[in-house]
Structure formats: C-alpha cells, structure tokens
C-alpha cells in the first residue's frame, strides 16, 4: 500500500499536527501550517484529525496509488483530478488502485492538504511524522518529496465518498487579510507614533514566505526609542540579547520588514519582536500568497482568547458535520 510520486509539486511535505516538546533545543514543532484544513481533510477520509497528510505549496503533486483509498483535498483551492477528472475540494472521493491524482492551477490560498485514508505512514520521529526540512528530520527522509519517492500508506478501509465540509466551516483569509496581534515582547522599543503606523499600514506578503516565517513589506519603517544598546545585544537598535522567539511572534530586523514566525520557526535569535499573532490566526497565514495585502489588527488578551474559542468552535463544527 503506497503512493508513487510521479511529480512532487513545488514543495510538498508530510505533515501532521506537529512535534511539540523540543523547542528548547531548537527543534520547532513543525506540522501543518493550516491545522484546521489538515484536520478537515483527515476527518473527511476517516482518519484521526492529526494523522499525517501531504502539504502542497502553490502547486499540487502528481501521485499514483497502488491501492484503493479515500482522498480529500482541503485548504487552498487547487482542483484535484483523478485520471484527469476534476473532483470537488473539501469533499471525500475514492481513488482506485492504479489511478493518478493530479491538480489544476492554484485559484486561491497557498497550501492544499491531501489526506489519504490510513494516513502517510512514515516513521514517527520524536513523537511526530512532520517534516522539519532545515534539520533534515521526520517526514519522508527529512525533506520535501521528489519524483520517484514511494510513500507508505497506513491500512484501513477509508470513509465513504461524498462527505463534505459545509461552506461556512471552510476558514479563509479575507481581503486584505487581517492578522490579529497582541502587542508585547519588545513593543516598548518603538515610538508611540511608529506603533500607530504599524497597525495603520497595509503590508504585503513578501516573496520570502515559507514554513519558517512570513515576511511582510510595503509598510513604513519603525522608529526606535533611543537607548544605549545593552551588553551582548549587538549594535543595531533592532538587536536584543539573543532570546526565544514565540510561535507567531513578529520580529522586525532593522525596523523595516516584519517577519511572523511559523511552524518551522527558528527558536530564538537576536532581533526584537513587537508582539505575537494570536494562535487563532496562524492557520490563515498558511494560506497567504506572496503580494497578498495584509493588515495587523491590535487585540487584547480577552479578544485573543475569544478568537481562540471561535476557532475551536469551527473545528468542533467540522467534527460534528463529519462525525
């Protein structure tokens, strides 16, 4: 029971819900950037929500199946095709032994999640099947897929075809995308006026946007509060004594282009951070294409926790719909 990779797509990796517990030695959680879509895809095919699936960025792979399976594709709009026949997204469909799954062009979003009944059965490393490419750890040989790879698939009959995630439960970023952010960490390093402008400006996703972090440009540079740099920090006003970086934290090297760290985050470093994108909006970042206009929206902890409850309600809605 396997999948033959005919074409790998641009950057397709095996991901599950991640590998928490090793960030203190620099190994990030990894896992799907859009965990809601990963969970939905898995539930559609009858897998546990956190089974390992494929995350395909911007461009889908071409895969041949050596066994009958149920498949679902969620997240980015990138129409799946079975032997050339287009299938609906967010909906379970059957693929028979010998058939080929391919994809049409990306219409919206950035990352498609391809779940296969039984899950992608690569070895569990430090508690997860997720790929951490920078550390060559986990997933399929610690790297993105290549032509000729043969992916093992777990057993199981797979769910029936035709089940679908209701439209209202398919969470997508708006236009402009809005990322709610709790100011903090080293927020005090920038002037009040710079802080106001940071939230006023419409930023754009830069081409340097990947699983480590998303860079944004086109906003006005931040002005710093004057200080004598503390010993050990380095001479640039954006430098700090190297510290931990929270997931979702927004660092601004040189005060120019904010970077939001994501699932393959570098665990620490010497750049100051102005705050942290709330956990509820991390999924949305995974669906942003380069050049997407984006606004950071200032929130309080109460609003962050409310957003967290809303996201959880969406997940519970998906579970209830696919029960």
């Amino acid at each position: 029971m396997a999948i033959n990779v005919i074409k790998p797509g641009l950057s397709t990796t095996v991901q599950d819900l991640g590998r928490p517990g090793y960030y203190h030695i620099g190994i990030p959680t990894s896992g799907a950037m859009d965990t809601l879509s990963l969970a939905a895809a898995n539930l559609l095919v009858g897998n546990p929500a956190g089974a390992a699936a494929l995350e395909a960025v911007f461009m889908g792979p071409e895969l041949e199946f050596t066994t009958d399976v149920t498949v679902a594709v969620t997240g980015a709009e990138m129409p799946p095709k079975v032997d050339g026949q287009e299938q609906a997204g967010w909906t379970a469909f059957r693929v028979k032994k010998g058939q080929v799954l391919s994809f049409g062009f990306l219409k919206a979003g950035a990352r498609a999640y391809i779940a296969v009944s039984g899950g992608i059965d690569v070895p569990v490393v430090l508690g997860s099947r997720s790929t951490y490419t920078l550390g060559a750890l986990g997933g399929f040989e610690g790297r993105k897929l290549q032509s000729g790879d043969v992916l093992p698939v777990g057993g199981g009959a797979g769910a029936a075809e035709g089940r679908t995630v209701p439209e209202g439960l398919r969470r997508r970023p708006g236009t402009p995308a809005e990322l709610r952010m709790l100011p903090g960490l080293y927020w005090h390093r920038i002037t009040e006026a710079a802080g106001v402008r940071f939230f006023e400006d419409t930023w754009k996703v830069a081409p340097e946007a990947d699983r480590i972090g998303y860079r944004f440009k086109a906003g006005r540079p931040l002005e710093f509060v004057d200080r004598e740099q503390p010993f050990g920090a380095g001479s640039d006003p954006s430098n700090i004594v190297d510290a931990c970086y929270p997931y979702g934290s927004v660092q601004v090297p040189g005060g120019t282009e904010p970077i939001v760290l994501h699932r393959d985050a570098v665990s620490g470093g010497g750049y100051f951070m102005v705050g942290t994108v709330v956990s509820a909006d991390m999924d949305l970042i995974g669906q942003l294409q380069p050049h997407t206009p984006t606004k950071f929206v200032k929130v309080t902890m109460e609003q962050a926790l409310a957003a967290r409850r809303d996201r959880k309600a969406v997940l519970e809605g998906i579970v209830a719909a696919l029960g």
């Binding site: 928490p20 920078l134 550390g135 050990g232 004594v241 931990c244 929270p246 709330v278 967290r308």
Partner: protein, 291 residues
C-alpha cells in the same frame, strides 16, 4: 537586574531576566525554569531557557494566562534563594580556524560585511585590539565558554566567553544575513559564539569550522545515539585549535564511527567564578585534562 514579563500571544509568556547579558541573568532564568519544571503546573507545555531570558508555552484552555503569569511571578520570588551551582560537563571542541570552507563562503558574501576588504577573523581581531589572526586564536581558544542557550536551529549552542567583560570578544552581525553558512561553522555575533549545527542562513561572523558533528537526526554518530543534539544549557566548551591534517583525520574518524569527543564532568559555581575567574577556569581545565 529587573525581571520583565510579557505575553507572547495567547500561548506564551516571555520573561526577560535582564536587558543585558551576564551569567547572573542566565542563572536567574535557570533557577526559575528549574523551579517551574519541578512545579509540574498543569497546562505548561514547553519551557525554553535562553541567554538572559526564557519563554514558557502554555495551553490557555487549561490554565488562564493571568493565572499562569501569577504562578511564574511566585516562582521568581522563590527562585531568588536558589544556589547557583551546576553539576555539568566540559566538552573539548576542535576548531580549524581560518579554514577554506568558511573562507570561500565569507568571500562569496563579502558585500554584506562591515569590512569587505578583510576576513571575518581579521576584522574581529582588529576591532577587539587583538594581535592579528594568531592573537585572535589565542584569545578565542584561551578560556572556556559557557553554553547559555541552545536554539535558533536544532542543537545550535550559544556560547558565552568565560573571561571578564573587558576581555570578551564582541563583533557585530553581518549587515545583511548570509543565505548560506557551512555546517559546523564556528561563528560569533554580539558577545556570543556559536556552532552552526546545520547548513543554512546566518548572520554571525565566521571564524572556523569543527570536524565534530553536534546534531545528527539519524543518530548514527556514536555520541549522539542517546539524543540527536549534543549540547544542553550549562555545558562548558573549550576550543582546541587544530590544523588541516588533524581536521581531515578527525573527519575520517567521525565518518568511520570511531571518533569520540573529550568530555569530563565538572562542577560550576557562579559565586566561585565571580570571585576568581582565572582560578575557576584553571580548575575546570584540570577536570578536562585529568591533572
């Protein structure tokens, strides 16, 4: 030393023990994080110590952010009295300074450097008033270094030079980070040394390379079979300058699965170090050299 607390979104608390780096700030963070680990508070998912700060990840569905914050502040008060003594180890790391691989890389990214006309070692020697490359190697490898953080990428140690502040080597990071750094490069930024555990981007000055793997996801390296990362915060490192021949021999031995690093257990006391830096270092070196 004033402790500063901040929420990192709804899942993290970030605690800065001090704005500037010192071993005192590191030990304060270590006392609190050790107490936190022992407290086994429900909802705490990750505890990450850093140089002069630390970070706690928690599940706000299990413990409310304000309650988590209150727990941490209570622990800070209790941890003040903790003794600053550490049962740790000293690890000898061979370094081939001015090696051809970091040299090739630093030449390739020269326009991103403060001084495009010299090398990273020459530049750092000059701004630290050291006598050229030889003087630099002597200063860099003369005293042990303290691992005050592990992170950035898998298993990368940040190293704090165990000499008085006036003698600590300092250098800026590259003006713009490189997109490439050879694996096992010995680097330096601000007051921190590091060893790049994997190949990748980086902004630290590059001084040399070690033949000694420090991260092995496949765990085939004999001394990385217990765990894939070698370093832990609190480890002490002694650089050993080597030449091309010893570098090549060591690489061959590592590849054959025969090479083992020199490691010895040692007790480190912050109070003793504060009183007598050179004496403490001499005692630590005796532990490594066995006399």
């Amino acid at each position: 030393m004033k402790t500063r607390y901040s929420f990192g979104g709804d899942e993290h608390i970030f605690v800065e023990c001090d704005e500037e780096m010192s071993l005192e700030a590191f030990f304060k963070g270590m006392s609190i994080t050790t107490a936190l680990r022992e407290a086994k508070i429900k909802g705490v998912t990750e505890i990450c110590p850093a140089n002069a700060s630390f970070q706690v990840r928690f599940d706000p569905d299990v413990i409310a952010p304000d309650a988590m914050m209150a727990e941490l502040k209570a622990l800070e008060a209790a941890a003040q009295a903790a003794p600053s003594t550490l049962e740790t180890r000293i690890i000898e790391v061979p370094v081939y300074y001015n090696d051809p691989w970091t040299h090739e890389t630093l030449m390739r990214f020269r326009e991103r450097h403060q001084d495009p006309t010299s090398t990273d070692v020459e530049y750092t020697a000059r701004i630290n008033n050291l006598d050229g490359v030889d003087g630099f190697v002597k200063a860099h490898s003369g005293a042990p270094w303290f691992v005050s953080m592990v992170g950035f990428v898998a298993g990368l140690p940040f190293l704090y030079q165990m000499v008085d502040r006036a003698r600590q080597i300092q250098s800026p990071k590259y003006l713009r980070p490189r997109t490439d750094t050879p694996r096992l490069t010995v680097g330096h930024g601000g007051c921190f040394g590091c060893i790049y555990s994997v190949r990748g981007a980086g902004g630290y000055q590059m001084f040399g390379i070690t033949p000694m793997p420090i991260y092995d996801p496949n765990q085939t390296v004999p001394y990385l079979q217990d765990f894939m990362c070698l370093f832990k915060p609190g480890d002490i490192v002694k650089w050993k300058p080597i030449g091309r021949e010893e570098y090549d021999n060591t690489v061959a031995e590592v590849d054959a699965g025969r090479w083992m690093p020199r490691i010895a257990p040692v007790t480190f006391s912050l109070a003793e170090f504060q009183k007598d830096i050179d004496g403490t270092n001499a005692r630590i070196m005796e532990a490594l050299n066995g006399h």
